[in-house]
Subunit: 254 residues, 4 copies
Amino acid sequence: MDSHKKLKSDIARIKTDQITVHGLDLSRDILGKVDLGQMAFLQLKQRLPTPQEAVVFNAILVTLVEHGMSGAAIVARMTYSDAPDALQAAVAAGLCGMVSGALEKTARMLQEALADPKARSSLESVAASLVAAHGSAQRIPGLGLHFHSPTDPRTETLFEIARANGCAGPHVALLQLIEKRAQAACGKPQPINAPGAIAAIASDLELPWQIVRSIGVIGRTVGLVGHILEEMHEPLSREIAMRIAEETSHAPGS
Amino acid sequence: MDSHKKLKSDIARIKTDQITVHGLDLSRDILGKVDLGQMAFLQLKQRLPTPQEAVVFNAILVTLVEHGMSGAAIVARMTYSDAPDALQAAVAAGLCGMVSGALEKTARMLQEALADPKARSSLESVAASLVAAHGSAQRIPGLGLHFHSPTDPRTETLFEIARANGCAGPHVALLQLIEKRAQAACGKPQPINAPGAIAAIASDLELPWQIVRSIGVIGRTVGLVGHILEEMHEPLSREIAMRIAEETSHAPGS
Amino acid sequence: MDSHKKLKSDIARIKTDQITVHGLDLSRDILGKVDLGQMAFLQLKQRLPTPQEAVVFNAILVTLVEHGMSGAAIVARMTYSDAPDALQAAVAAGLCGMVSGALEKTARMLQEALADPKARSSLESVAASLVAAHGSAQRIPGLGLHFHSPTDPRTETLFEIARANGCAGPHVALLQLIEKRAQAACGKPQPINAPGAIAAIASDLELPWQIVRSIGVIGRTVGLVGHILEEMHEPLSREIAMRIAEETSHAPGS
Amino acid sequence: MDSHKKLKSDIARIKTDQITVHGLDLSRDILGKVDLGQMAFLQLKQRLPTPQEAVVFNAILVTLVEHGMSGAAIVARMTYSDAPDALQAAVAAGLCGMVSGALEKTARMLQEALADPKARSSLESVAASLVAAHGSAQRIPGLGLHFHSPTDPRTETLFEIARANGCAGPHVALLQLIEKRAQAACGKPQPINAPGAIAAIASDLELPWQIVRSIGVIGRTVGLVGHILEEMHEPLSREIAMRIAEETSHAPGS
């Protein structure tokens, strides 16, 4: 194996007696001092957050942990039920369906629109162009509710937390302008959903849009282990599988 | 589909205008107030942690986030490199190899040994029995170092954090006694490794051993997204794949 | 990167103008001449099967392709429904729950019992010991039916195919003796199930038990893509998810 | 759980004494008579193939089984090495990186171009439009070689098999015209690669482009179990992981 290009990673240094992560000594600087949300920030931003950023980043991570018996929760529970020896594979299965979705698409839309610094001085016109470009308000990522009504109960709280901690910037402002324009364009409310709000805040925290989906991946992982734990004690999977098998695969009366 | 048994889940209630998780209103009680480690505690214990428990639980979650270019990091990076549209699948792939390992085995050993409350009054004899039962010190889960030396730099810090916050109980005490006995039995140090320490502390937090692996799953997820982000900007996967392909699959000179 | 140990693989050689697999030229010797089951045999046995072995091996691969709306099918369909851009991740999710199960456990039991060549001359006594060792007939891998009755409709056909093609050897014989002994021991039929029959035949084909689960993995992959295709045209996942969400997560009347 | 919409699947019927798949009795009509490639055809086309189709479909399934130590093989082997108890998760991990790629993109391009039956009478002009539309020959899916030279050794063999069995139709013809046009446009050969050839043949077998990726998923699954088996006996993963860890994570001299 000839060395063609040096392999290099700047994340961690592992010595026999010391582990450093982005320059911080794990035992001395991190353990007992840094919570899991701050640690995720460190992984994604290569520095620890300020106290304000820590509150905001933890809030957006926590938001997507739990949304009841989602498809992902069912997938993880059924996989765990079939293979209880492989808990990690049940979580992995539950993650597999995490599409790019509103989180990534909203972040991309906002970041690409504001990539040119001049755009930041004319948010109104950027919002107008974006709404026009999408043709229909239903197609604008980050807007629209599938279940919640009249607003997503998480959205306003997240924006308040971002504002109170000095982390609401042009991306949040732009998404809110888009919401207004979209409502004007189609004549009815087009509320910002929680993934949209998270994407806007993550963008103001300067996370590149390509990694914003990981906020959902991390939150969902935390949620799924709770569902797997409940499945251990209150199993649902066999009942669900039996009902579906009966309804789909069996001859009448069998 | 006849209803044979009611499907029921106690984790969340999703209404159009409210989400509650284990009885707490997500927007009012959780967002902005609860960090991601506390949220994970809520999912696994059905209640929020005390401030002391929050410090300890965050510490054990954070410990396993990063250990350099582990096998899991390589797997996630190579998968991302092949399928950059499916970031979630790259994390899932990186989780698939998270075997039960020291984390689960140590928690099981300690919890089964202390399941009988009487055992708690004679930790010394329980430790002696366990060391004897395993035949060789090398086979005792939670002990032994593969890379670190002379001790695992994370272990003592974790125990200090647990003690300082009142979360070190009989499971920690038992593992430390086992460490001593094992050293005596084989004549050389058998240091507690980080997964062992985490398992003991998680057991003192009364997490059932069957779910203790999820501490590693959560931490690893946070770590992997950092590696995927680095892979976006400093790709290693193609170089690694090319070197391996050259060394294994190709005729000399081809 | 110092080379500590040469990396080497004997499976394939990839040259710019030729691909060889286990010594066969892919274009000249394999394509158009070797079916997928024979190719799987080549991967697992490092040689092509005889025509008789090809029939038998294809039969055991085909058996587990389809069993209606299994848990795995539901998992794959729900994952595909959430992330239609990542078909491969939907299949991966559906594989994650494929526990060691009857396939691997039966193969292991039979192969370990017959590891000593002398055991082959006294199959009756080996069978008697195995039944005794398992305590209860219900615990013997490869025996017992969960759904089918009075026998598994696949078992006898598989054994006939193996016999007709000269591939039924001591492992098949032993499992059939175990079936008889188990029935005698507990006073009611303990029929061999399809995974048990497959495991016995695979063992007579001299596949190591550690890889026998792959027969299920391959068959399941073929089955899952059929379910994903149906999900594209006749989606079930949203209906299933909606029903479960309604039954578990919502307040009455909401 | 109120029934809102009947769940229904037309793939299989599972009775206690009979399993039928797409109307065929598994034991009577399939086992011993249908090879794994034909079974995959049945799952994807809802009917058994003709003998000619069986040869062709097996050929395209077999083609992608093996390509040496690919990224997927490395991922599966490393995952298996970490979690040997979860062989299915190792295969799942290896599948996760199977991007839409040439297989799906080529099938989509060809099928969308020929969706209008009139297009079939003027393949030359369709080919010309497609080459023009892609701007650069490098961007046309199904063309171009990354490693092989001067042609992909699998392509011509696959086309011959398709022709000899009456399965080469307008999609194959169109891709070959595209190849010629692309070469004319850029002045150097733009050979059809194996995934491109498979996509064209699968399209002539009337598989919808949305499911064409599954040909790669099935083939890769068969390939990965061979690599996992080799990893059991000739482990590479630890050596690879150690080399990478040394090169990336450690301080000089540590």
